[in-house]
């Protein structure tokens, strides 16, 4: 076996044989699933706050009714959203839900976070003032049994100018849910009253408030060639996900390489290796070994993702598959992965050859990591405006090309941009291989203190 392959095999095995590698490999999809599940879990486990409404004085009459109506209206909206979400899920999975299950899911998703309850008799009968406050404090106190305890007491009143206002007494000093809800309800109440005073029928105001127009979008680029559906977003979402996955894979791979070279430098192994193989063979072997490791991660993530998607949402799985294969996204993904990985891997390896500790590496890695944040920010713009000038210009910067062009690929950018940026990226990657090769050779046997000046000097000398 030639030396490059031997070094690649050792590099791959050094990581692949560790339990930590497989744990961290599985951790990302696991936490991804957990993260998605957590949102639903948090939503369904949000406590229902029990709230008492008290109108202060005759001028406040009607405000409590209005707040109750607002809560009911919100609940209806939430219910409609839940039905829509369930229908979408059924369409994606291709299997209709059992009626009981659907009802339970609907109830869970549309569950309100606030429930208005009647005031306990002693609170209802307490005279305004200190005595009433004493009772309020008692019901909000942790010392009161949970079954009798209230989460908030809202005093509805009016300001001097007649505008509805409120004082919210809350059991928790940090929970702002009741305050936000009451504020929104009173805003709405004020609007209706103002319109009513202007002679506008309250029924008209309610109709206007609750009107939700049905807007359909059409685009010649949609799957149907006409109406745009949520499925039309799938290619762009897949592109964006590809960009992020690519970023994560490349940076993970390059960082592994940096640490590996740094470890060999600090353990004085590099000099022994250099007496057995050329610097080019060592660099190529290490880059190849970590590339195989990166591919292993990609295959594992891809496999887990595909199995998960096919099992949970076969209809979407077909769309994702189509987006990857029909639009050539998978080809772009691999091409950009090769170019991007080469660029960053050799650069990080060259830096590692000058470093014995992570602190040494920070000198050079700081600015590089700052540059790497740019595509992360810009990539999000590609979802809605993949052809915006800033995205198009930054796509030509070789360091950003792999991520931005992967994200833009489903929007079918002009061929000149695809070919041009790809050619630029590969040309720059080859330049990086040449530069980093020289720096690696010089750094491997050097014990100079690392700085950009020393790094540039080493590239100049080459060995």
């Amino acid at each position: 076996m030639n030396r490059t392959l031997l070094i690649a095999r050792r590099e791959f095995a050094a990581y692949a044989k560790t339990v930590g590698f497989w744990l961290s490999l599985l951790a990302i999809p696991l936490f991804g699933a957990l993260g998605g599940g957590m949102v639903v879990l948090m939503k369904s486990n949000e406590p229902v706050r029990e709230v008492v409404l008290i109108e202060e004085g005759p001028q406040s009459t009607g405000l409590a009714v209005f707040v109750r109506e607002t809560l009911a209206s919100e609940s209806e909206e939430r219910s409609a959203e839940a039905v829509e979400a369930l229908n979408a899920a059924q369409a994606a999975t291709g299997t209709p839900m059992q009626p009981g299950m659907a009802e339970a899911a609907k109830a869970k998703l549309s569950r309100p976070s606030i429930r208005i309850v009647d005031a306990p008799p002693d609170l209802a009968s307490a005279a305004p003032g200190d005595a009433q406050m004493e009772v309020v404090r008692k019901y909000l106190s942790k010392e009161t049994p949970k079954a009798d305890r209230l989460d908030a007491v809202v005093f509805l009143t009016r300001a001097d100018d007649g505008k509805p206002t409120a004082r919210v007494w809350s059991a928790s000093a940090t929970d702002g849910a009741v305050r936000r809800f009451v504020s929104d309800a009173l805003k709405s109440a004020n609007r209706r009253e103002v319109f009513a005073q202007a002679g506008i029928d309250p029924g008209v105001v309610i109709q206007t408030d609750t009107y939700d127009p049905e807007v359909e979008t059409f685009s010649p680029q949609s799957l149907s060639g006409g109406a745009v559906t949520k499925r039309d977003m799938i290619p762009m979402l897949v592109g964006l996900a590809s960009g992020f996955i690519l970023w994560s894979l490349i940076i993970t791979g390059a960082s592994i390489l940096l640490n590996s070279v740094m470890e060999e430098k600090s353990n004085k192994i590099l000099e022994v290796l250099l007496s057995s193989a050329s610097a080019t063979e060592i660099l190529a072997g290490k880059v190849l070994g970590v590339a195989l490791l990166t591919l292993t991660v990609l295959v594992a993530w891809g496999g887990i993702g595909a199995i998960g998607l096919i099992t949970a949402a076969p209809a979407w799985a077909a769309d994702v598959g189509a987006a990857l294969l029909d639009g050539g996204l998978i080809f772009y993904f691999f091409a950009y992965m090769v170019g991007g990985y080469l660029m960053y891997a050799v650069l990080f390896a060259a830096i590692g050859a000058f470093c014995e500790t992570p602190r040494d590496a920070q000198t050079l890695m700081g600015p590089i990591m700052m540059v790497l944040v740019v595509p992360l920010l810009v990539m999000q713009m590609t979802l809605e405006t993949p052809d915006s000038p800033i995205v198009r210009i930054l796509s030509w910067v070789p360091f950003f090309t792999p991520f931005l062009m992967s994200a833009r690929a489903p929007s079918e950018p002009p061929m000149i941009e695809i070919v041009g940026t790809m050619a630029g990226m590969f040309a720059f990657a080859l330049l990086m291989v040449w530069i980093a090769g020289r720096a690696f050779r010089a750094g491997a046997l050097s014990d100079v203190k690392l700085s950009w000046k020393a790094f540039a000097g080493a590239i100049g000398r080459g060995r």
Partner: protein, 318 residues
């Protein structure tokens, strides 16, 4: 004898610093050559140039018939001064890996690794990870890794550093074994005793320049023999003895001195002693001593081989 290694006018410069200047010497096939000098004398730079890891600023190097060490790297074994192996590998895997890099099939490398580890008393360590081994054990493993492919030329950079006396003896035996099997060995050290015991030839280096090239006996011959005298004798009295070219007071306690009296080229120790007794000088102990390689080094270079001559040391001193 044919030369396995020839250096001809080799120099190495790092910026303004001359690490090696106009260095020429030869190492004959199958011999053990000691490359001696203090730390910072230019030994490691020279060895790296021989291996082709660094280019020479000037001059020519021929090793095993090639003009660049990299062309014959599979026929060379190298143990660097600062050692390290993959900490999570077992000794057998590490040795087989480095052997494979030199063209040895992995299976054969593993077989030889087990055999050599057993021979070095490291049989129990075969399955352990490198990080679990003692420093002495690790150094032995690394030495095995550098010679497992049975190289024709073995370069060892300060192989004895960090080893206890027992392991140093074991290493000396290994080096003799390599030469007995036909390999040429070039090793650098600043400890002259190892070279005295092992080398067919020594090359002395001081401040980047060659100070001597020849056998150990020839090196010693460059330095005078001396007479060590102990008693109530004054240095001036010792200096006046026949055949004595100079004296050095080694120690003094309660009026009793130890004096080292260097003899002239033709000077005879017994003539000096006879004169001392005839003159009634108080000599309670005497010893005629041959010069060591250490003495020869000092005589040839004016430097102490135990002193650091590196730039770093000089800077630190400033």
């Amino acid at each position: 004898m044919t030369a396995a290694l020839t250096l001809d006018g080799v120099s190495k410069r790092y910026g303004d610093f001359h690490a090696v200047r106009d260095l020429s010497f030869q190492v004959e096939k199958g011999s053990i050559c000691g490359f001696l000098g203090p730390n910072g004398a230019g030994k490691t730079s020279t060895l790296r140039m021989i291996l082709g890891l660094q280019p020479a600023t000037a001059g020519r190097i021929t090793i095993l018939g090639a003009d660049d060490g990299r062309k014959v790297r599979d026929r060379i074994g190298f143990l660097p001064e600062e050692r390290g192996l993959y900490k999570k590998m077992t000794p057998v895997d590490a040795i087989a890996f480095f052997g494979a890099l030199k063209g040895l099939p992995t299976g054969e490398g593993r077989r030889r690794a087990r055999e050599m580890l057993d021979a070095q008393g490291l049989g129990d360590a075969k399955r352990k990870k490198m990080k679990e081994l003692s420093k002495g054990m690790s150094q032995k493993v690394q030495l095995i890794a550098s010679v497992v492919h049975r190289p024709e030329f073995v370069i060892l950079d300060e192989p004895f550093s960090g080893l206890d006396p027992v392991n140093q003896q074991g290493l000396e035996a290994m080096i003799r074994g390599l030469a007995a099997d036909g390999a040429t060995v070039l090793f650098s050290t600043h400890v002259m005793q190892h070279a005295e015991r092992l080398c067919d030839k020594v090359v002395l280096l001081a401040r980047g320049r060659k100070a001597f090239e020849g056998t150990v006996a020839e090196a010693r011959a460059t330095s005078p023999r001396f007479l060590e005298l102990e008693g109530e004798i004054a240095p001036e009295q010792a200096a006046g003895l026949p055949g004595v070219s100079g004296v050095e007071l080694v120690s003094e306690a309660g009026g009793v001195r130890v004096i080292k009296a260097a003899l002239t080229a033709g000077g005879r120790g017994q003539d000096a002693l006879k004169a001392a007794f005839l003159n009634g000088l108080d000599v309670r102990r005497f010893e005629l001593r041959e010069p060591s390689l250490h003495d020869a080094f000092i005589g040839l270079t004016g430097d102490n081989p135990d002193q650091d001559q590196s730039v770093k040391a000089a800077e630190a001193a400033r």
